[in-house]
């Protein structure tokens, strides 16, 4: 069995590895190569203190940084049939799931929680990228549907935070069907007139982008996040051309009309709270007056007649009324 290679050998390697290699204490920014002390990096929400590069954020920290005071309640998610195709590649899918669960402590790639943002009730469904690359299978479909139903039940806006490579191949066509399923789910929220906001994080690709992630009322993205449908390498190999600078990055998508705003991680809570507040607390409306359509503001016919009379002498410029 793999127990020896997968578990014991790494442990041994860790023990014998020379100590000068920075392991957990220091992180190397993948963008600028700067070494950042781990505590400093965590304090800075995993944004490089040197170049501002936004590194991927574990789902727990994601929820903490979004909800007021970092306080939220997770909901238990419905169970789904596991490994529906009895799929195996070089490894059994059932084993991959087991590994992912023990590695992450999560049941699958989506976490659903509720709490408040800027004092307004909000439901957040966030992907856990460390769980099989945040891939979308039946469990994610089920989780998003649960999030949508919670949002409707609580009359609260829904924020979805994708961090996903796309569909989970190991569930075959059933994972593809999650694109339709999640679309129905988020439409439940939209049908109720509740705001549906997508916070696009690195990476948002494939079937996730091509379904619920592009259907938000408002699309907010983190700086530099890769957002796209096909992978950059696939495209490059197909068209045999070098891709443009910044291709499939958050800023590129904003310039191409797909994203409303690119917001640095430190400002996300404030910006999302402001958006929700504007959409939810609309201010004074007053009593709706049941008037039929021929009242004030539809006196045009009369005004046209008046205008006709008044305009007979040659018009001369006059200061405004």
């Amino acid at each position: 069995m793999n127990w020896l290679t997968n578990f014991v050998r790494p442990k041994i390697q860790q023990l014998v590895r020379p100590k000068e290699v920075p392991d957990n204490l220091w992180h190397k920014c993948p963008e600028c190569g700067h070494m950042i002390f781990h505590r400093e990096l965590e304090k800075n929400m995993r944004v490089c203190t040197h170049c501002g590069h936004h590194m991927r954020l574990p789902v727990k920290q994601r929820l903490e940084m979004l909800f007021d005071d970092g306080a939220y309640k997770r909901i238990e998610l419905p169970k789904v049939t596991e490994d529906p195709l009895r799929f195996r590649d070089v490894k059994k899918y059932a084993d991959r799931i087991k590994d992912a669960r023990s590695k992450t402590g999560e049941h699958d790639a989506m976490v659903v929680a509720h709490g408040t943002m800027g004092g307004n009730a909000v439901v957040i469904a966030a992907f856990d990228f460390s769980f099989m690359g945040g891939s979308m299978g039946m469990a994610v479909g089920e989780a998003l549907n649960a999030a949508a139903e919670l949002s409707v039940a609580q009359d609260a806006p829904l924020i979805v935070v994708p961090a996903s490579g796309g569909a989970r191949m190991q569930e075959g066509i059933l994972s593809l069907m999650q694109m339709a399923r999640t679309t129905v789910a988020v439409d439940k929220v939209k049908e109720k007139g509740l705001p549906y906001i997508v916070l696009l994080t690195d990476p948002t690709t494939g079937g996730v982008t091509a379904s619920f992630a592009m259907l938000g009322d408002i699309h907010v993205a983190e700086p530099g996040a890769v957002i796209g449908f096909a992978g950059a390498r696939v495209i490059e190999n197909t068209i045999r051309e070098t891709l443009p600078e910044g291709f499939q990055r958050a800023e590129y998508l904003r310039d191409h009309g797909m994203v409303d705003m690119v917001v640095p991680r430190h400002e996300l809570r404030a910006r999302l709270s402001a958006l929700i507040d504007l959409l939810r607390n609309r201010g004074p409306v007053g009593e709706v007056v049941p008037l039929h359509r021929n009242g004030a503001y539809s006196d045009v016919e009369q005004r046209l007649k008046d205008a006709h009379e008044a305009a007979k002498p040659a018009p001369s410029p006059e200061p405004g009324a």
Partner: protein, 317 residues
């Protein structure tokens, strides 16, 4: 301060005032008194000039570079403005500004054209000339406002929709048509203000509102005076005559019942006192929103449609 041709006497007087201010007291001349005398004179001249601006002169005022533009209004009047971008199809068009914010305590959707104020910003905003994606963004935002029951305020200031090959390929006409259609379909209040230039289809795309107001010296026309002159007079130099003939001033359009209200400008035009002009615009918008938000959504829509359906049955004899 930029001065228009017909403002030359003002420029001279204000130049003198400047000179006096730089001069010290002493040689028997009471500077403060002289400055006050000249300022009274400036006011008198401004009153004379601005009370009888010709349509062509008004066109110049409407295009004045110092006139408050869309983003100026947003900055001055809208709290917590959250700009929204993109048509979800092709591009973000910075010629059209749009977003949600709080206007006098009320959440609103603000949409308008921005011309820019210096070379860099003018290029960025394409001089306020929107491409199809700009109108498609406007439509998307109006639909969003409709979904969430937010009143829509549009601030119109454009020479017209951008004439270009790409814009045509991507359906400039279709985009404008859909934008007008959306204006007419939404079930929330839609208040439009022509703050500068209302250039043709590019303007009406955002200005099909329950209430359409114009600043006193703004213009709104089917074609620019220059364009009209070059087509009908076959000479762009006849722009002045074309401006007269087109009936493009706020006063003419009020008479034709195409607009509902004229918002008076500060003496010497909005560019001389932008803060005052913007506040007056805000007061007017607020007054109408206050009434409109009380109407049933279906009634709001029906009245808007009736209003535009009734237009063009009568003109000036």
């Amino acid at each position: 301060m930029n001065f228009l041709d017909f403002e030359k006497p003002i420029a001279e007087l204000e130049g003198k005032i400047e000179d006096l201010r730089h001069m010290g007291d002493g040689d028997g001349l009471n500077i403060a008194e002289e400055v006050a005398r000249l300022q009274t004179k400036v006011e008198k001249r401004l009153r004379e000039i601005y009370s009888k601006l010709t349509p062509w002169q008004k066109t110049q005022v409407a295009r004045h570079p110092d006139r408050p533009h869309c983003l100026g209004y947003v900055a001055a009047l809208v709290e917590d403005f959250q700009p929204l971008a993109g048509d979800r199809g092709f591009a973000e068009d910075a010629a059209v500004i749009g977003g949600i914010g709080r206007f006098r305590g009320r959440s609103v959707m603000v949409i308008g054209q921005e011309k820019g104020h210096d070379t860099e910003s003018r290029v960025k905003h394409n001089f306020g000339m929107a491409k199809p994606e700009g109108y498609r963004k406007a439509r998307r935002l109006m639909e969003m406002a409709d979904r969430f029951g937010l009143p829509i305020v549009t601030l119109v200031d454009t020479a017209g929709a951008y004439p270009g090959v790409g814009a045509e390929e991507r359906g400039q006409a279709e985009a404008i048509a859909r934008s007008i259609e959306t204006c007419l379909n939404v079930r929330v209040p839609l208040v439009s203000v022509i703050i500068g230039e209302g250039g043709s289809g590019g303007a009406i795309a955002l200005a099909t509102g329950n209430v359409v107001m114009m600043l006193e010296h703004s213009v709104y026309s089917v074609i620019s005076p220059e364009g009209c002159a070059s087509i009908l007079w076959r000479s762009g130099e006849q722009a002045q005559a074309a401006a007269e003939a087109l009936k493009l001033t706020a006063q003419d359009l009020k008479r034709l019942a195409v607009i509902d209200e004229i918002i008076a400008e500060p003496l010497g035009g909005a560019h001389r006192a932008p803060d005052v002009a913007m506040k007056d615009v805000a007061d007017a918008i607020d007054r109408h929103l206050h009434d409109l938000v009380r109407l049933d959504p279906g009634v709001l829509r029906a009245r808007r449609r009736d209003k535009f359906l009734a237009m063009g049955r009568q003109g000036i004899e």
